[in-house]
């Protein structure tokens, strides 16, 4: 029950802090959408970083490292440090200046004006919505999956569950309702400014909690001489074993007399090469067969996991972080900046913040390979490590609050951004009626409520689907669209035809690969190439070809967008 109280206190504190921003709310739609462009460097850093780091940052990174090993950091984090900052510098600062000069509050407004095409907005609108919604679902469903095991045992009579790990825990329908309710409350009241305040609070919470979890886990596993000794090891006969067990009562890490076999090399001829090695510590790929519970029948089935990262995948994964250049919710955060100079702190500190969050999580994932069953779903790794090794309800509550903070700091911006897009790009655009600012504000709030309600219902309907598999596809879709924004900002010759061609080619190629993957999950082509690399290049080619075969934009357009 202590865990529940800690989480309730956290949500209360968050709500109080975010609603505090209401004191500065100016009551205008401009304040609601872009905080009257008044956010300073620190809040901009916290809101941009908090929005970029979703449930993936804490839960996903640990789970991915549990699956793939040490390569996870280079695959997703260090490349992001370089490329996210490049997007903030090359796209964010320029977008801020154009948005400020011409009064844009959404991405679609910018693209419509830059390419002089209303239709482009109508083409982009459904694409953005369809790519953001799975991202929202990941957050709401992820919150439910985190809270239920963390609060298990708190309400044994009220929330019965056949699974002892979940029995008495807050069920997903209730956690989703609470999370959506809290986020809605502050977004409804304060819009962009409340999101920036809440994100600052939440980003600090999840960074601190990630470090606290790491220190506790490090101290427990350090009983093995060093925590990395705990990671799974390959024996001379090709078996994958765990050498240690953790005794909860004595709180001691015990070296097993007979190591526990958790898998074996799929290709036994590699046994000599891998003997004595810990596969999670390198990036060399090795296939390991292991047992896992079937998600529906609960029977043990044979599975194969690839530990390590193939070189081509490592190389082409560098396209994924480009997605921040096209995220509509990040676009909106950029526009809230008080000045271009406010971006400076974000540029320098963003790679460091990524390091502070990701290095501990990747290490925890590597260490978990020597403690947890190999069939465990990656999303459950962090919560199970915390529960197994820490076992203190107050601390578990605080760490769960940290995970919720990471999730909610993305949810709020996404809810707000969809409400903003609906209001500005669908209703107000081309509307012949003159709306007052109060009416616009009312409309935006109604749309935010509708988006939150729709997300909640979809999350309930899809809670047993593996939506986490969709994350990389959402990122890929946005990343593949970056030739559009780069050409819009840096190539005077880019035309509407090029923009249409680029968006259509990206949409078609993305859909083809998505279908080939079986509609989600990790998927590569040509021996390890990430589909995003091909979609991106196809989109860039289409942009260039489409622009060159059509007449250049008018001098007026060029003068408007190229200082």
């Amino acid at each position: 029950m202590a865990t529940v109280w800690v989480i309730v206190c956290y949500l209360g504190a968050l709500l109080a802090f975010a609603l505090g921003s209401k004191m500065f709310f100016r009551g205008t739609s401009n304040d609601y959408f872009v905080a009257s462009r008044s956010i300073g460097p620190f809040m901009l850093l916290m809101s941009v970083f908090g929005t970029t780091m979703t449930a993936f940052a804490l839960v996903g990174s640990t789970g991915k490292a549990f699956e793939r090993g040490v390569g996870t950091y280079g695959l997703m984090a260090s490349s992001s440090g370089l490329i996210h900052a490049a997007c903030f510098f090359l796209i964010g600062v320029k977008i801020w200046s154009i948005g400020k000069r011409h009064g844009f509050v959404t991405q679609i407004q910018f693209f419509r004006a830059r390419f002089g095409s209303n239709g482009l907005g109508y083409l982009l609108f459904p694409i953005f919505v369809l790519l953001v919604i799975p991202y929202l679902l990941i957050g709401v469903i992820g919150a439910g999956k985190t809270l239920q095991p963390a609060t298990a045992g708190a309400f044994p009579e009220l929330f019965k569950n056949d699974n002892p790990i979940l029995n008495g825990g807050v069920p997903p329908w209730l956690s989703g309702l609470v999370i959506c309710g809290v986020v809605l409350a502050y977004i409804f009241a304060g819009g962009s400014r409340a999101a920036a305040w809440a994100n600052t609070f939440q980003t600090l919470v999840f960074m601190i909690m990630g470090l606290v979890a790491f220190i506790f886990i490090y101290n427990v596993l350090n009983q093995a001489g060093n925590p990395t000794n705990v990671a799974a090891r390959v024996t001379e006969n090709g078996m994958v074993v765990q050498d240690y067990t953790f005794d909860k009562e004595s709180r001691k890490l015990i070296k097993a007399e007979k190591p526990k076999v958790v898998g074996k090399l799929k290709h036994p001829e590699e046994a000599k090469k891998w003997a004595g090695k810990q596969p999670h510590l390198t990036r060399e790929e090795v296939e390991i067969s292991h047992k896992a519970k079937h998600p529906k029948t609960k029977e043990l089935i044979d599975k194969t996991r690839k530990v390590g990262v193939p070189w081509l995948m490592f190389l082409t994964y560098m396209f994924i972080p480009l997605s921040v250049g096209m995220f509509p919710h990040l676009f909106q955060h950029w526009l809230t900046a008080k000045s271009a100079k406010a971006f400076k702190l974000t540029l320098i500190a963003h790679p460091l913040c990524i390091m502070v969050v990701w290095v501990p999580c990747v290490l925890i994932g590597i260490w978990a390979s020597g403690l947890l069953p190999w069939g465990m779903p990656p999303a459950a790794v962090l919560s199970n490590v915390l529960k197994a090794l820490i076992g203190n309800p107050v601390l578990t509550g605080m760490l769960t609050a940290g995970v919720l903070a990471a999730i909610m700091s993305s949810l709020d911006s996404q809810f707000l951004c969809l409400g903003t897009i609906f209001t500005n790009d669908v209703v107000l655009h081309n509307s012949k009626k003159d709306y007052t600012d109060k009416q616009i504000l009312f409309m935006a709030r109604c749309f935010v409520v509708a988006v939150v309600a729709l997300t909640y219902v979809l999350a309930l309907l899809l809670q047993n689907q593996n939506v986490f598999d969709l994350a990389v596809w959402c990122f890929s879709g946005f990343a593949a669209l970056t030739p559009l924004v780069l050409a819009a900002l840096y190539w005077k010759r880019a035309t509407a035809a090029g923009a249409y061609a680029s968006v259509i080619v990206v949409a078609i190629s993305w859909l083809i690969f998505f279908a080939m993957s079986g509609f989600g999950g990790e998927f590569t082509v040509l021996g390890g190439v990430m589909p995003v690399a091909i979609c991106w290049m196809a989109g860039a080619f289409a942009m260039v070809a489409g622009s060159l075969v059509t007449r250049p934009p008018s001098e007026e357009t060029v003068a408007k967008f190229f200082p």
Binding site: A77, V93, S97, R101, P351, M355
Partner: protein, 75 residues
Amino acid sequence: MKKHSLVFLAVFVILAVLHQDAWNWDSSKLVFGFMPVGLAYHAAYSVMAAIFWGIVIKVAWPDDLEEWAEGGEGH
């Protein structure tokens, strides 16, 4: 393109190449006694990225953009 922009572009490409640290690929050496070298390298890489962007800000910050932004119809 200004001279410093070309230099930064070149450094950016070098950093992107350095991201592919093939020499650490199969190494399980530990740094500080507990951190796999492949992870330590990429953590240091994050610090390097921060330093790189710090230098870019110092040398190539587009001050004129801010002035341009302030003088528009959005006010």
